[in-house]
């Protein structure tokens, strides 16, 4: 098999090195090829080299097999999204090549496995094609028994050479990755890596070199959103959790199950979603905020119990890693369509707190914030993340754990007298005395889902229902007044303000950067607190002619998405409009800008 090059120009045999500040590499193959691990190695290397990194992946919802991609964007400066177009596409199969070649920027490089891919002459005019017999060379390097296994690590070697990446650091990462497994496994992996690295790619493809990274004062860590969130839950002092397996939430429960015993805690795999939420509420009732979580379908099942926790005023942290719905939907695709059920899911009026972390690092801190709000306000707090944020890898500064890790152990000091639902409590905030607390008056609380008097005994008094309803509402209004006003990214005044929540933050910010460079007046804002909302939004909106709410959900029957609906209900302002899509993928910058332009054009007519 000969190495083929078919670029617009003839290949230059002399070594050509371009200095780049960032690169987007898309690796396309099948889910069993281990392409996620190439991406993972690259992301961690970037983090260790003080570079910024963001990844994006799609995985099939099947048990084994099916096309899958992993995209890494590495930058010496700020990296806001996983990138609109790729500099390099590494294609393992014909389908990987055909389905993703469009994603390359013009003149980009297709690095393909010539054992499986037949290049298309038309595309060869547009992109540089570099063929390499990845499969055969891997087998040659590490032996034929493992069939295709190891070609991911071989390809990592190729990419490392192409981008002049720090090979010794990558070797360390490979050794660390296989630590604890048979020595032959890491030896084989290193052999595959060296074979890829030694491949004479310099003679056939362009080489790159990253510009110096900005020095950072803090060490960087690299993780995905699910990991950051789970570690945030541990840092917050939570020591009990219960859940039921569902993609993409399962990673969080698996991590908590593995780690909690070190802290004397327990994570229970419950028989179903209803039991999971009930065990967590039972544990919270016992004195320490507990956690449960799920993805869309599980949240639907848990809503009755969440309504109980609102009524009984019991703290709870509920994580919903959103995926495309309704019903079973597209389990491994991104969507932000659980906002309504998170805010309102339960019968009756049941105010609760909804927080949406805006990036991977924010997942860690949002978990701590959620626990503290749940505890202080005795209320369920729902953390809404999504498939994109949960699986994407980012580098961020090492948290100061000595400072942020907290102890929320309950106390059981004897009380003279105690009313769980004291109507005179400041701002209506309940502070429960957990079981185990002795109450000298001999009057003990009942915690209940029936409307109740101040001691928790059932009532159907219209006056008490009004007062208790107001109590449950007032405490969250108080929370709303305490929340920080969101910051506008870009100038405070202008033509267009993009508003979003969760995983859209990066793409929105990059859209703002790009549009402003082109001379457009555009800013953006990410809402981390969906319910209650912080104060001051109206003043911010006043500074703009148009407010476009960018969401990965459907425009619905009324023509706008779920957050947009909340904002329109709150501010009754027709200038708040929706930009929506539900293709199961994250927003690309040029998609957002195109949709903004369409809206502006329509407004002119």
């Amino acid at each position: 098999m000969s190495d083929s090059i078919a670029a617009p120009e003839a290949a230059d045999s002399s070594k050509k090195v371009s200095r780049v500040s960032e690169a987007v590499i898309r690796i396309a193959g099948n889910s069993q090829d281990g392409i996620q691990s190439i991406g993972g190695f690259l992301a961690r290397l970037a983090g260790r080299s003080e570079r910024e990194v963001m990844t994006f992946m799609t995985i099939p919802a099947t048990i084994s097999g099916g096309p899958s991609i992993f995209q890494v964007r590495i930058g010496s400066g700020e990296v806001l999204s996983s990138g609109d177009e790729a500099d390099v596409l590494l294609a393992f199969y014909q389908h990987s090549y055909e389905n993703h070649v469009d994603f390359l920027k013009e003149g980009g490089i297709v690095l393909y496995d010539s054992d499986h891919v037949e290049p298309n002459p038309e595309w060869q005019k547009k992109y540089r094609h570099v063929g390499c017999a990845v499969t055969a060379l891997t087998v040659e390097a590490i032996g034929g028994t493992a069939r295709d296994k190891g070609k991911n690590i071989f390809s990592l070697g190729l990419i490392a050479r192409m981008f002049d990446l720090d090979a010794p650091k990558l070797e360390t990462l490979i050794i660390e990755r296989f630590h604890g497994k048979a020595a032959s496994i890491s030896t084989t992996a290193l052999t595959a890596f060296h074979a890829g690295y030694a491949y004479p790619i310099a003679t056939i493809a362009e080489l790159y070199e990253f510009t110096e990274a900005q020095a950072r004062d803090k060490e960087q860590v690299v993780s995905n959103g699910n990991e950051a969130l789970a570690y945030g839950i541990l840092a917050a002092g939570v020591r009990f959790g219960a859940g039921y397996p569902i993609t993409p939430w399962s990673d969080i429960m698996e991590l908590l199950r593995r780690e909690l015993p070190k802290y004397g805690g327990i994570f229970v795999q419950a028989e179903d979603e209803l039991a999971a939420v009930s065990m967590a509420i039972g544990s919270s009732y016992s004195g320490r905020v507990a956690v449960t979580g799920s993805s869309g379908p599980g949240l639907s099942l848990k809503t009755e119990a969440i309504g109980w926790a609102v009524m009984a005023e019991i703290p709870l942290v509920m994580i919903d890693v959103q995926r495309a719905g309704p019903s079973t939907g597209m389990p491994t695709s991104v969507e932000q369509s659980d906002l309504n059920i998170a805010c309102f899911g339960a019968h009756g009026d049941s105010p609760r707190v909804v927080i949406a972390p805006a990036n991977v690092e924010d997942c860690f801190y949002s978990a701590i914030e959620a626990v503290n709000i749940a505890k202080k306000y005795s209320v369920p707090v729902i953390i809404l993340t999504d498939q994109a944020i949960s699986t994407r890898i980012e580098a961020y500064p090492m948290p100061d754990l000595e400072k942020v890790v907290q102890d929320i152990s309950p106390t059981f000091e004897t009380q003279k007298d105690f009313k769980p639902y004291d109507l005179d409590a400041a701002d209506g905030i309940t502070n429960h005395q957990p079981p185990g607390t002795r109450i000298e008056s001999g009057k003990y609380p009942v915690i209940t889902g029936l409307e109740h008097d101040e001691m928790g005994h059932p009532t159907s008094s219209p006056v008490l229902h009004l007062k208790m309803q107001a109590k449950r509402r007032r405490k969250l209004q108080k929370l709303g007044r305490e929340l920080k006003r969101p910051e506008v990214y870009g100038p405070d005044e202008g033509n267009v303000l993009l508003v979003g929540w969760g995983s859209t933050q990066g793409s929105m910010r990059e859209s703002v950067e790009r549009a402003r460079k082109a001379g457009d007046s555009i800013s953006c804002l990410t809402m981390r607190h969906i319910m209650p909302m912080p104060e001051g939004l109206e003043e911010i909106f006043d500074g703009f002619h148009h407010v476009y709410v960018v969401e990965t959900n459907d425009e619905g029957l009324n023509g706008y998405g779920q957050l947009c609906g909340l904002l329109r209900a709150k501010f009754c302002d027709p200038k708040i409009e929706g930009i929506n899509k539900t293709d199961g993928l994250t927003w690309r910058v040029r998609e957002i800008l195109k949709r903004v332009q369409e809206k502006l054009d329509a407004a002119k007519d």
């Binding site: 983090g47 260790r48 660390e176 960087q220 690299v222 570690y231 541990l234 840092a235 002092g237 009990f240 219960a242 015993p261 070190k262 802290y263 004397g264 327990i266 229970v268 419950a270 028989e271 179903d272 209803l274 039991a275 999971a276 009930s278 065990m279 967590a280 509420i281 039972g282 544990s283 919270s284 009732y285 016992s286 004195g287 320490r288 009755e304 119990a305 109980w308 090492m398 948290p399 754990l401 942020v404 890790v405 102890d407 152990s409 059981f412 957990p434 079981p435 185990g436 607390t437 002795r438 109450i439 001999g442 003990y444 609380p445 009942v446 915690i447 209940t448 889902g449 005994h457 059932p458």
Partner: protein, 299 residues
Amino acid sequence: MSTAIAEPEERKPLTKKELSADHPTWCPGCGDFSVLALYFKLIQNRNLHHEKVTTVAGIGCSSRFPYFVQAHGVHYIHGRALPFATGVSLSRPDLHVFTFGGDGDAFSIGGNHFTHTARKNIHLTYVVMDNSVYGLTKKQTSPTSPIGFKSKTDMWGAMDQPINPCKQAISAGATFVARTTHTNPKHLLAMMEAAMDHNGFGFIHCLSECTEFYNGAFDASNPRKGGEFVEVPADHDVTDEQAAYELAGEPFPGHFGIFRQVNLPTKNDKENELNAKFQTKVEGLKDWEILQKNFDQMK
């Protein structure tokens, strides 16, 4: 997880008055009164104090229980009392967790939890007051209503096979299964004491007549109504699963007493053991230092 609170001073057993809270909302003659009275008696006999007892229930007539007891109590949602109580039990080894409910709560809407709490062997006591009818919603068929029972949803007589609670408990792996009735207070109290002392999931199936909607349902087990109350034979081996299954399968009124009792590790114990193993690995480390190790691996 949490440490038990020291109890320095000698405290007298609580009086019935000190244990009573709201006046029960049950109809006159309801079997549940008897269970409540004997629960008080149990607390008194064992000199338990208010703060050490947690009473959990779901929804139904019998599930109103916690309002009538002067102790920390929870009235949770329909069918989910057991997982709630599981959360309490696993988090707080210092508490006595008692869960009460009816046949609808336990075997219909909460059926899945009954099986799984049993197989996990969670340390708590569960008393099901079975009246074989939905009382709170005024006479619909329950999962234990016998075939032919006329209700508002089966006006021509129930047609579905009823659930056999004790059989179900045994097959789910329950480590303590007892059967009793509200008409024999002495026996009921003995079963409650044995269930409470059992280290594990202590399940009591207690016949509790609904005088309003299913009067006379259990007369055949009540000597005062011409029935027969026969205790489990003295030579019954409670560790013999097959023998327990046979007792549970007898036609009404059958036998009363402990059908099955085996000592198997509870989930509470197993989790504690697991934690102890991990504790030796992280000995001397503060929580933030344990977490730091994870973050160091993500560098």
